[in-house]
């Protein structure tokens, strides 16, 4: 009996240590990167560069905030890259036809959300693998982008609309950062403070136990994909405004960065483990990698390699810390 007790206390210590590492380990890495970059590159800490880091981060950030719901619920969404393209062409069409900016934004978000819903229903209703379903639906979605735009890219020539992507509040804070900020707060409340968020964790953590506890597993899974679609729509608005053009060929590979941000931020691929603050840190780390390597004059080819290695490192860290079996 005594023996058992001792073991348990030790177990708790280990648990607390791993909890601490899981919560704050990644923050140390981010701070370390900040320090290294400020020392090695004199331009890094300039206001211009910092706002630049964050506005490039905003797009990926919004995508990652949607992705984290899907991965936490035990899924994956590979279709968000092509949703960016569909959102872009939708905005182009609606804006050209009506000139109404809010209407075009709503249309873009709506169409992406609907595709999120379709992804979710296919996966949860027919119990198909999320990987396969979204791998296929990404083709459908991108194809649809080409169909409605006739395959052409066209400039929007709407300076008011492009302000969403390029404008700044009080000439300091870029609007995309504000959007990321808003989405992050919403995501935080939804995941950490509502019943729905708790169900997301339960479904990803143990789908059988969730069912047996009366969780509506179907709508929880569908909900995660709806959120991912919604976020892809919002990100699509930012992207279209930044390039000020409707293009059906944009967004290729963006799901990779979003997944990477989640994983670096401590989201477990097995499902059931993640935090919104962690994901935000993951997003910033990816932004720092790009920016740092740009400042240090490293070619984009090497940047791609480094990002890949970093994801592998983060996943390895995740399995070592969690050591599930």
């Amino acid at each position: 009996m005594e023996n058992v007790k001792e073991k348990k206390i030790l177990g708790m210590d280990q648990h607390e240590l791993s909890l601490f590492m899981k919560r704050y380990g990644i923050v140390f890495i981010m701070v370390g990167m900040f320090l290294i970059l400020s020392i090695s590159s004199p331009n890094f800490l300039k206001i211009n560069n910092i706002t630049n880091v964050f506005s490039t981060v905003a797009l990926n950030g919004v995508l990652a905030m949607g992705m984290v719901f899907v991965i936490t619920a035990g899924g994956i969404d590979l279709s968000i890259g092509s949703m960016l393209a569909l959102a872009s062409t939708t905005i182009g069409i609606v804006l050209q036809a009506t000139g109404n900016i809010p209407l075009s934004c709503v249309a873009a978000v709506l169409i992406c959300t609907v595709f999120g819903l379709l992804n979710g229903v296919l996966i949860a209703k027919f119990n198909m693998f999320p990987f396969v379903v979204t791998l296929a639906s990404q083709l459908v979605i991108r194809g649809l982008g080409y169909v409605i735009s006739g395959g052409y890219s066209f400039a929007l020539a709407n300076p008011k609309f492009s302000r969403i992507g390029l404008g700044k509040l009080w000439n300091v804070i870029p609007y995309p950062i504000l959007i990321l900020f808003g989405i992050t707060i919403l995501a935080y409340i939804l995941l950490h403070q509502t019943k729905f968020g708790r169900y997301i964790y339960a479904v990803g953590g143990n789908i059988n136990a969730a069912t047996a506890s009366g969780v509506n597993v179907f709508w929880t899974r569908v909900g995660s994909f709806i959120i991912s679609g919604f976020c892809a729509g919002v990100a699509g608005i930012i992207m279209t405004a930044r390039i000020n053009a409707a293009q059906p060929n944009i967004g290729v590979g963006y799901e990779t960065d979003a997944i990477a941000a989640c994983v670096i931020g401590g989201t477990s691929f097995a499902g059931g483990i993640s935090t919104i603050p962690g994901t935000l840190v993951g997003i910033i780390i990816i932004g720092l990698i790009y920016n740092g390597m740009n400042l240090l004059g490293i070619s984009s080819y090497w940047q791609t390699i480094c990002k890949g290695l970093l994801i592998i490192g983060a996943v390895m860290l995740d399995t070592i810390i969690n050591k599930k079996r």
């Binding site: 403070q193 953590g205 059988n208 069912t211 047996a212």
Partner: protein, 507 residues
């Protein structure tokens, strides 16, 4: 002297002084087990008597803590089933693990494939030819090219047996081989067993079905609570003898059932039929603990799962407080005031890598709301309350469920359901894998909640638990109810464990 020698050389498997513990529980205590060459030897015992543990030691899935095994007179050590097969021992498991997309021939010769000379290319013709020969030998009219997935369970079982024989097995262990066979298939299996016996193969036959044991076996060994009880020739004993050997222990007084007032009927089912159970009717009263007893697979858990909406019912009616209700999924069951503790804690009870707080509040979130958000203060207070009440030993309610011992995990599962204050609480194996201390605490809690007016249904494979805790006991036999025993009958001595076990075996 020569007689003694002959007896020794007659023994094919000799296990001496085998002990095995898992964590704190002793599964086997100094067990001796001998099987004579060429016999069909029945291994008997209640659920949890240690039969499977010993067999798993023999085929190398577990390592014994103590003891020696001799096979064909030589010391025998194996690390895993593959080595056991090479040594001459094969086991036919109750749940067959076959590769569905291999052909019969590929399956029989898996890992021993024929190749063309020295080259690593498969010689499928040769493999098929050899398989066809084996099939003919066993009067089995199937092409060796048929895929395993197309076979019935009985057929795949036969293939497993053929495979064992083709590996030159001298000892074949069969664990509940007839549990999913119909009577014709069973008859066929018995013919095969007899022909194996004629070829000199020894068989260890594990089964709960007494009539079969007397039909096909020559000798027996009985285990109880991880210990060897007796062995001998079946010709010298009766079913009754075997059952009293299996039970043989006194009811310990560790079950603190407190008698309380039993009120009106709260929950009633009529003619429930589903997969694994037929025509089940019973009622539970306020303050009553109803015990469901039966062998593993007799339909107890299946009935409970169906009532809780986890599996479909094909027919039958459910009444709660006099009103007929339908339950399509656990969500509906919970919202109507029915809670269920699943027998499989890891898969259906807990999200192991989430905190106690989240686990306990999961089915109760609808009562913890403040507008759209969870009222986190209220949540913390209520979770802490119930966890303290049930004496869950943990440093904090934020600890992962994973970090707790089995007994404490079970208390967390109890907490989550008791927090919802159900009218009917179904407990399927509530003390499985729980240490003795936590076990009696859980029993005390059951009494307490019954006294507060809950109706409790307990499913347990432990007869002393069922007898000690229940106001009434219903006994399952092969999917149907086979008798009812009231607490008074136990108390006045007109019914005991033997009565129950006999009913479980269909007497």
């Amino acid at each position: 002297m020569p007689e003694k020698q002959q007896e020794n050389s007659n023994i094919i498997l000799d296990c001496q002084g085998i002990s095995k513990s898992f964590g704190g529980t002793r599964a086997l205590k100094d067990v001796t087990f001998r099987v004579k060459k060429g016999q069909v030897h029945a291994l008997l015992g209640e659920n949890g008597a240690g039969k499977s543990t010993l067999m798993k030691i023999i085929i190398g899935l577990y390592k014994a803590d103590k003891g020696e095994v001799f096979f064909e007179g030589k010391p025998y050590h194996v690390n895993g089933p593959a080595e056991a097969i090479r040594a001459g021992i094969s086991m036919i498991h109750q749940e067959l693990n076959t590769e569905p997309y291999l052909s019969i021939a590929e399956s029989i010769f898996l890992n021993r494939e024929d190749v063309h000379g020295k080259f690593p290319f498969l010689d499928k013709k040769e493999t098929n030819r050899k398989a066809a020969e084996l099939l003919r030998q066993f009067d089995f009219n199937l092409s060796p090219k048929i895929l395993m997935e197309e076979l019935t369970l009985a057929q795949s079982q036969m293939i497993e047996i053929i495979k064992a024989v083709s590996c030159n097995a001298r000892l074949v262990i069969m664990d509940e081989p007839t549990s999913s066979l119909d009577s014709e298939e069973t008859e066929r299996l018995f013919r095969t067993i007899r022909s194996l016996q004629a070829q000199g193969v020894t068989i260890i036959y594990i089964s709960h079905r007494m009539e079969e044991i007397f039909q096909v076996c020559d000798s027996y060994s009985v285990f109880r609570d991880g210990q060897f009880v007796n062995s001998g020739e079946l010709a010298e004993v009766t079913t009754g003898d075997l059952i009293s050997m299996m039970v043989g222990r006194k009811v310990e007084s560790v079950f603190p059932k407190v008698d309380c007032e039993i009120g009106e009927v709260v929950f009633k089912v009529e003619g429930l039929t589903g997969k694994g159970f037929q025509d089940i009717s019973f009622e539970v009263h306020r303050g009553e603990i109803l015990g469901l007893s039966g062998l593993v697979g007799s339909g107890r858990s299946e009935t409970m799962r169906a009532i809780f909406g986890m599996d479909p019912l094909t027919s039958g009616k459910i009444y709660l407080e006099g009103k007929e209700i339908t339950i399509k999924n656990p969500r509906e069951a919970i919202s109507k005031g029915i809670a269920m503790i699943n027998e499989d804690r890891k898969n259906f009870g807990l999200c192991l890598f989430r905190s106690l707080r989240e686990n306990i509040s999961l089915p109760n979130l609808r009562t913890l709301h403040k507008g759209a958000l969870i009222n986190q203060n209220k949540e913390k207070i209520e979770v802490k309350d119930i966890a303290t009440q049930l004496r869950v030993k943990t440093a904090s309610i934020e600890a992962d469920a994973f970090s707790l011992s089995g007994g404490n995990q079970q208390k967390v599962v109890l907490s989550k359901w008791l927090m919802s204050k159900p009218k009917v609480l179904i407990m399927d194996e509530p003390t499985r894998g729980v240490d003795v201390g936590a076990k009696s605490e859980i029993h005390a809690l059951m009494s307490k909640f019954a006294a507060e007016g809950m109706a409790i249904i307990v499913v347990s494979s432990e007869l002393p638990e069922i007898i000690g805790m229940s106001d009434r006991i219903l006994i399952y036999h092969e999917g149907r109810l086979n008798g009812e025993i009231a607490r008074e009958e136990i108390l006045n001595g007109s019914a005991d464990q033997e009565t129950i076990l006999a009913k479980e075996f269909g007497e």
